[in-house]
Each structure stands twice: as C-alpha cells, then as structure tokens.
C-alpha cells in the first residue's frame, strides 16, 4: 500500500492559505475581514542595510574612552550629519551619522545604525476571508473556488481576468497574438518557445501567464518578468494536461489569482491558480495524501506520457520490471486517448 501525493486540479474546493511574515511584526488584518489579493495583511520593520561607526578608531581612543563620548542611545533616530561623538580637546574631531537611520546598538567604541528602507509588507495574495490571526506573524485566509496547482513559478503574484489564447493544450503562444486588449489579463497559453514573447507580454503588461511547459533555457528570462508565470506541467515541450486545460478554459472571463511562488518541497508551498467562485455552502477541502487504488485519476510526472492524465486500471502486485530494466511498484494506466501504459507508482500523483 503506497501513499500517493495529490496534484490539485479541483473545480470547487475550500482553499485555506497561511500568509506569514518571515519575522515578527504587526498584523493589520482583523478576524473575519474580507481581503483582496493586494491588501496588506501584516507588516514588519526589517533593515537590510547597516552602518558600523568605529568611534574609537576615528577618534584614536580606546573602546572604553570612546563609549563615554558617544552621544546617541539605542533606539534613537539620527539624521544625516547628526553628531555621534566628539573627540576631546578644543578642536576635537567629530564623528557624524553618514545617513538617516536608527541606532541599533552601541558598545565597544562602536555604533551600529540601521539605514535605508526597512518596511516589509505582506499582502494577502488571494481573495478571501481572514479566518485566523497568527499573532505577530500573519493570517490564515480562506476562500472557495477552483484550484489548479502548477510545478514551477517565477515568484510573482497577481490577479486578473482569465483569457484563453490556447485553442489546443499544446498551442504555441507568439508575440504577434499579444495586443492591447490583453492588457491586465491572465493569459492561458499552451507553450511559449521564445524570450521575445515573454518580453512582449511584459510590455502590455499582462497580469499573469499560465503555460503548460517552458524550455529550461527560458527560465532565467521568465524569472526576470515582473508578471507571474506558472507552468502547469513541466519543462520542455509538453502540452497542458487535459484536466487543467478544461478547468481553466471553462472559467475564462472570471477573475483568477495567479500565485507563482517557487516550489518549496519542505514547507509545501507550490505555485497555484485560484479562481474564487460563489458558493452556498463550504465545499470539502482538498485531500493532501491518498493511497493508490484502481479507478483513480492520476497525473504522470515523468515519461511515458509525462504531464498526461490517465486512470489506474490495475495495480500490479509486488515489483514489476519496467522497460528501463528497473524494478518498482507499478500500475497499468489508461490514458484519455485510450492508450495503455505501464507507470511506476513513484512517478504518479493522484488528481484531486
């Protein structure tokens, strides 16, 4: 009995997402508050730049002697040019703050000042209701709608109206198809094979791009784009899997949030598309783990039939020798086109 990871492609489900700051801060949102993806739900101060003033060295004094001359205190705000310490004597040298900032700590004849931008904002990322406050860190947001997981994202988040440019799951998007009417849209496309098309989308700009696959050589360009890009199926030249294609194309003209966060295999973060839908009662949440069984719909991670959807017709007992010569637990899968393939269980995810 082998545990199976689940690949979420769901028409309607309850979606619960945790949004937390990386450090302690202030939670702005209230319990039960309705939020949109761009709302700031929490914020923190986190200085990324510091200046260390070695007063002792500057004034040619011992650390203890320098400490006695330092005028500022921990927590104090200082402006550019503010006197931090003055050396002894009538013409004593002065040490001044080189930039606006806040004194973090003094001691050992030194002063550490944090400078530069320090405010960190955490946005909701998805539309929904705040159902839990995590003190000092963030919130849990709940919504109901369609959920489509991807396998790779470029780290951006945005919301827009779903627009389909993929007549087929393997349609190739070209720059010539991107016109001003698509400004602000979240585009469904099959594949994109050149950097110019990605750039053209950025210039419109679009609010997101959902692709089935991308050549690895274009990943660096995709990461540079300021709009979110999600891959639903993988790398190379793979068509979109039929379940995701159907679900996305039947929701065209609805608002969709595209969260192209990077896959975090340890925390469970995964790029995803959320399409909020009106509901009269709370639908069942997605299951995260299943057990392989005959009759299940599965998604194939690797060849044969990588990225395709099929149904388990039989689980083979024990270990099966695959065409590669490796032995593994395997299943017979019937693809949507009727073809039968033999797939190791480790290469499958249950769709649900």
């Amino acid at each position: 009995m082998m545990l199976a990871p689940v690949h979420h492609i769901l028409g309607l489900t309850t979606i619960l997402r945790e949004r937390v700051l990386p450090i302690n801060g202030r939670v702005n949102a209230r319990l039960n508050q309705k939020v949109s993806p761009s709302d700031v739900v929490a914020e923190a101060n986190w200085a990324r730049e510091h200046v260390l003033l070695d007063v002792g060295r500057a004034l040619n004094l011992s650390p203890n002697a320098a400490d006695r001359l330092i005028r500022c205190k921990t927590g104090e705000r200082v402006s550019t040019g503010a006197v931090i310490a003055t050396g002894p004597g009538m013409m004593g040298k002065t040490v001044t703050a080189p930039r606006d900032g806040r004194v973090v700590i003094t001691g050992g004849g030194q002063v550490l000042i944090e400078v530069g931008e320090s405010r960190m904002e955490l946005r909701a990322g998805i539309p929904g209701n705040v159902v839990q406050i995590i003190p000092d860190r963030g919130v849990m947001i709940q919504t109901a709608g369609a959920l489509i997981q991807g396998v790779w994202g470029n780290g951006r988040v945005d919301t827009g109206i779903l627009t389909n440019l993929a007549e087929q799951p393997d349609s190739v998007l070209t720059g010539g198809r991107l016109d001003v009417s698509l400004r602000g849209a979240v585009i469904i496309a099959g594949q994109c094979k050149d950097a110019d098309t990605l750039q053209a989308a950025a210039e419109l700009p679009v609010r997101g791009l959902i692709l089935a696959s991308l050549f690895p050589s274009l990943l660096a360009v995709a990461r540079e784009m300021r709009y979110p890009i999600i891959l639903t199926d993988g790398f190379g030249s793979m068509p979109m899997n039929s379940s995701a294609y159907r679900l996305l194309t039947t929701n065209v003209k609805r608002e969709a949030t595209i969260n192209a966060e990077a896959l975090d295999r340890y925390r469970g973060g995964r790029p995803e598309i959320i399409i909020p839908l009106p509901v009269s009662s709370e639908p069942a949440p997605p299951q995260e783990v299943a057990t392989f069984a005959a009759g299940q719909t599965v998604w194939m991670r690797r060849p044969p039939a990588a990225g395709m959807i099929g149904t388990i017709t039989a689980l083979r007992p024990g270990l099966t020798t695959l065409p590669s010569g490796l032995r593994a637990q395997a299943a017979d899968i019937k693809l949507e086109n009727g073809e039968q393939v033999l797939v190791p269980l480790i290469n499958l995810e249950v769709v649900g």
Binding site: M2, L3, P5, V6, P22, I23, N24, A47, R48, E49, H50, V51, L52, D54, V104, I105, G108, L112, V151, W152, F215, P216, S217, L219, G234, F235, G236, S237, L263, D264, R265, Y266, R267, G268, G269, R270, E288, V289, R301, R302, P303, P304, A306, L322, P323, S324, G325, L326, R327, A328, L342, V343, P344, I346, N347
Partner: protein, 584 residues
C-alpha cells in the same frame, strides 16, 4: 533500551535519504551478527507528508512483512527492547542525508590556511558555502553584517589563529558574526562552530553565546601552519547538523528519541566506517568509498590513520541536479550516453528530474540519460575529492587516481541498476580506477548504518562485513598505457585451483572478462605489452591471487584517462560494445 549492546542482540538501523528510507535488521545467527533483512519506502521528508517518521515507519512496516517480526506497536512506535514474544528490537540507530543543503558561512584568517581548512570542513557535510570571509576580504564590517543578514546561514564556521598565536585578528572577524546574529530573529540565528585558536574560547563565548542558536567548540583545525586536523571539528559539525535538522524536519525528534539522540549524517557515518576499514585493509593502498544519491555525491577515502571526506550536494541526482550544469556542459554528459539523445531532451530531463527527485526512469531512453548523468556527476565528485588526497600518494601518471583497494560503492543509481554489469561499467567510467582493485557494491546502503552502529556495538560491523552482506562485483585490472586503438596492451591468464586456465588478450580500447565466481579465488598472471602498467609498474609482469565476484575478473584496457571518440556515432557504438561485454 540496554546501556550496552553486549547483552542485546538485535539492531534496527534506518537510513533516511532524500528519496528513499531504508530499514535494515541485524541479529545474531549462529553466534554471529548477520544482516537479516532490508526494506525501503519512499521518504516522507517533503510535502505533502512533511514528517520524516512516517517514511521510517513505512520502511519498518515493510520490514515487518518481510521478516514476519513485529517491530512497531499499534501506535506505530518502535518496540524496544525485544519482548518475550519475539517482537521488538534491542537497539536502534539512524543516519540522515535528507533535507535541503545547509547554508554555511565560513570565517577565517588567511585564505590558504585557516579559511581553506574551514572550507574543507564545510565540505564534510551536506552544505553549500554561501559566504566566505577572510582577512583579505575587502568588505567592511557593516557590509559583512548585511550579507549575513541577507543570506541567513544555518551555520557559521569560524577558524583562524594557530594555538598560542595572535588573537586580535580573530576577534575582529568575530564582531560582524556577533552583530548579525544579534540582529537576526531568535529562530533564524545560526549555530556557530568555533574551530580556531583555543585561547580565544572564552572570548568567543562572551561575544557569541547569547546571540546564536548554539555555540560549539572543537580543537583548532589548524593548530600549526603545517598541521590540519579536521576530524574533531567534523564530529562537532555532525552534532550541529542534527540540531539544525531537528528544527527543520518534523518527526526527526521521534527518530532521534528512538536512537537515544544519535542520528548521524549519513556521510559522516560512512566516513567513520571508511577510517575503520582502511586500518584493517592494510597493504599500502588507500580504501575508497563512493555514494551517489539524491542529496549528494559522497567520496570518502581512508589512508591508514588519515581519511578524507567530501560531500557534494552540487553533484546529487535530486533537487540540485540542475547545478551539475555549472560544472559540466550538456555535451560532457551526452558523451557517456549509448543512445542518440539531443541536448534539449537531456536538459528537459535534468529539470524535470529535479522537480521529482524520487521519480525513476520507466523507459530505456530515460534510463540511458540517467546513467549518463550519474557517470558525469560521480566523475566530477571523484575528481573534486582527489584534490584532498594526501600528496604523498602516487598515481601511475599525473592526473590519474592512485590505486585503491577495495572500492566500495553505493547509492540507488548503482544498486538498482538493471544489471550488475551496468553498475560495474558505470563505476569504471566514473571513477577510472588504476592498478588492481576489488569493486564492492553496497546494495543495501549498509556502510553508513554500520558506521552508526559501531558506536553502540563494535562487534556488529566487523561480523556483518565478513558475512558477505556486500556484493563483490569482482577484481578489476585497469591498464594504463599509451597505445593506439586495437593494439595489444596486455595478456592475462587466470589459473583456477583445479588447474584449469582462462586466458585473454587485452587490446587497447577493450574490456575483457574472465569468469571467477563469488567466494572463489584464483591466480591471475598479467603480462603487459609496450610498457603498459597493469598494476606492477610500467612494463612489469606479475602474478597475484584475486577474488571473484559477480563479474569475475575484469581487465579494463580502455585507457586511463578514459578518452571517448569525438565522433558521436563511433562513440555510441563503442559504449554499446562495452555494455554488451559486461552483459548488457
């Protein structure tokens, strides 16, 4: 759990890898420790499971099915010690390689002394060095602070200052570390290992003990300019590794509890056994152990009292696989491939495999690609590790490996290969050994588990090693010669104990096999041609008693270094021919 395993008998050992978790049961059979059974299950470190202990329990569950022995209770907790009804086990040990590579910042003084030692120390665990600061670093202290804040290393290794030497410079290096740690939130503060001038221990404590997640000390890695001793610091680093992992990986505390706190990094435990074995296998040659898995490639070598250990996540076959392309081109990898594969298909494979590290090759084409990738990754790991081998070791020619005996190999890519011939050929291509050597395949990843068990029971590893739990692939003779393809480089004659003989003429560019089963030995006489070196020196003949194995005696006349033809068609034909020679 008994305090001493002299009274206890059975031992359960679990290795938690990135892709698979393996459980192995040892017990006393006819008065000696034996490997009873082994089972494995997919690891559950990653989402959606996110609980290390689930995969461990699944592997133990499979072991229960194989052995018919109950090891877990109804709550899926380990039963210890062995009960009257025969359920349970007396002791438990574990090794771990799963988890993201630790981010390590190293701080030292001189680039080619303490800092270099710190970098070598960092290379002894599953890590990537994210920042390196020495005296020659041009960044100001506040820039160093900002870098550490941005990178948020898991561990900071500080070295520098010979024992009894100057301390002011080291003090200066400590300040940015202390201030950055002070500024970080509590849960993100790094662990610090101080392995420098021991006179500074108190000062380091004063500066850092309140601002780090843990502060550890070890003897100086460079007590003098000429002396480097990494082992004590490596031991501390192994402890720190476990501490960091327990914070990162849910369920590991359960496993650590079962193991009485001793879960070892897999590579560290492997190195422990290599050091032990290299003292047993005397005879002037070092002992080499290689492991290639999803987390990393590991190369451990023992040379009597000394050992070297290199852990290379950048050469792992899992989530880090795209990093291989920083060290090798697609063409470098494709040259190992027996099929005509385009570079685009190879690149797609690398990225798709990195998404799903535990996934496997279902078809022939993917398997050919996987083996080519494994060859290149292991080749690079061995070449990188070679830098740290003692300079006194002599290789037949510059640039070649010194001769090792034996060579131990492990990792799913090797143990799960469709045939033993494919495993052997992969090892010969990647390692390119020289001279005479025995190649042993550790199909059950026992070596690190024995290394972990050794601390609890020093008899068990010895008896298990002697019991045939490892698979000998055979004796390999690697001919070093300058010759043209097809010319005769050596003659070999194998004389069996019953007087029969098997002979072979080894042409340059070929592989020849002489049958010699496991548990058999015979006399091998080698006669080189034209100055070739068959392990006795250039142009020298010799005879030696050799052991058999799954592939018998293999004479590799393909040359060292192994140079493949530039013409891709010819190259693929040659690779297919070699594959056919070793059984396909």
């Amino acid at each position: 759990m008994p305090a001493s395993l002299v009274q206890g008998d059975s031992l359960l050992a679990v290795n938690i890898g990135a892709a698979n978790t393996r459980a192995v049961l040892f017990d006393v059979v006819e008065g000696e420790y034996r490997l009873l059974a082994s089972a494995s299950a997919p690891s559950t470190v990653e989402a959606p499971f996110q609980d290390v202990s689930a995969g461990v329990c699944n592997a133990i569950n499979d072991l229960q099915t194989v052995t018919g022995r109950t090891l877990l209770n109804a709550d899926r907790r380990l039963i210890t010690p062995t009960q009257l009804d025969g359920s349970g086990v007396d002791a438990f040990v574990s090794t771990l390689s799963a988890g993201p590579a630790l981010k390590i910042a190293v701080v030292g003084l001189l680039d080619d002394v303490s800092l270099e030692s710190a970098l070598r120390l960092a290379e002894m665990t599953y890590s990537r060095v994210v920042d390196s600061v020495g005296l020659n670093n041009h960044r100001k202290a506040d820039q160093q602070i900002d870098t550490l804040l941005r990178l948020q290393p898991d561990i900071v290794i500080i070295t520098g200052g010979m024992d009894g030497g100057a301390s002011r410079s080291v003090h200066k290096m400590l300040e940015p570390v202390g201030l950055a740690s002070y500024l970080l939130p509590q849960e993100k503060r790094p662990a610090v290992l101080f392995a420098g001038n021991q006179k500074l221990d108190d000062e380091v404590k004063g500066l850092l003990s309140n601002v780090t997640s843990s502060l550890c000390f070890s003897p100086n890695v460079r007590p003098s300019l000429e002396t480097e001793d990494l082992e004590p610091a490596a031991r501390e680093l192994a402890n720190i590794f476990l501490g960091v992992r327990q914070r990162q990986l849910k369920g590991l505390d359960v496993i650590a509890n079962w193991a009485d706190g001793s879960v070892l990094p897999t590579a560290y435990a492997q190195d422990r056994m290599v050091r032990f074995l290299s003292q047993i296998y005397a005879g002037g040659k070092g002992l080499l152990s290689v492991d290639i898995g999803a987390s990393a490639a590991v190369v451990a070598a023992g040379f009597g009292q000394r050992s070297t250990l290199g852990v290379y996540p950048q050469f792992g076959l899992g989530e880090n696989l795209p990093a291989l392309l920083q060290y090798a081109t697609l063409e470098d990898i494709l040259r190992w491939c027996s099929l005509d594969i385009s570079s685009g298909v190879l690149r797609d494979y690398i990225y798709q495999k990195a998404l799903y590290p535990s996934s496997i090759s279902a078809g022939k084409e993917e398997q050919a690609i996987a083996q080519a990738v494994t060859r290149q990754a292991l080749y690079l790991a061995v070449q990188t590790a070679r830098r740290n081998f003692p300079r006194s070791l002599r290789a037949p020619r510059p640039g070649l490996l010194p001769s090792f005996e034996p060579i131990l190999a492990s990792g799913g890519a090797l143990s799960d290969a469709p045939t033993e011939g494919q495993s052997l050929l992969l090892l010969l291509d990647a390692i390119q050994p020289t001279g005479l050597t025995t190649i042993i395949l550790d199909k059950n990843d026992l070596l690190p588990l024995l290394g972990a068990a050794a601390a609890r029971n020093s008899i068990l590893p010895v008896q298990v090693l002697e019991s045939g739990a490892f698979l000998s692939l055979g004796t390999v003779v690697s001919v070093v010669a300058s010759a043209s393809y097809g010319s005769l480089v050596a003659r070999a004659r194998l004389t069996y104990d019953d007087g029969h003989e098997a002979q072979a003429e080894i042409k340059y560019g070929s592989l020849e096999l002489l049958p010699l089963a496991n548990n058999q030995s015979a006399k091998l006489t080698l006669q080189p041609s034209h100055g070739a070196d068959v392990g006795f020196g250039p142009g020298r003949s010799g005879a030696v008693r050799v052991s058999g194995g799954a592939m018998g005696v293999v004479i590799d006349g393909r040359g060292r270094p192994l140079v493949l033809p530039d013409d891709p068609v010819r190259r693929r034909e040659l690779i297919k021919k070699w594959l056919w020679t070793v059984g396909g």
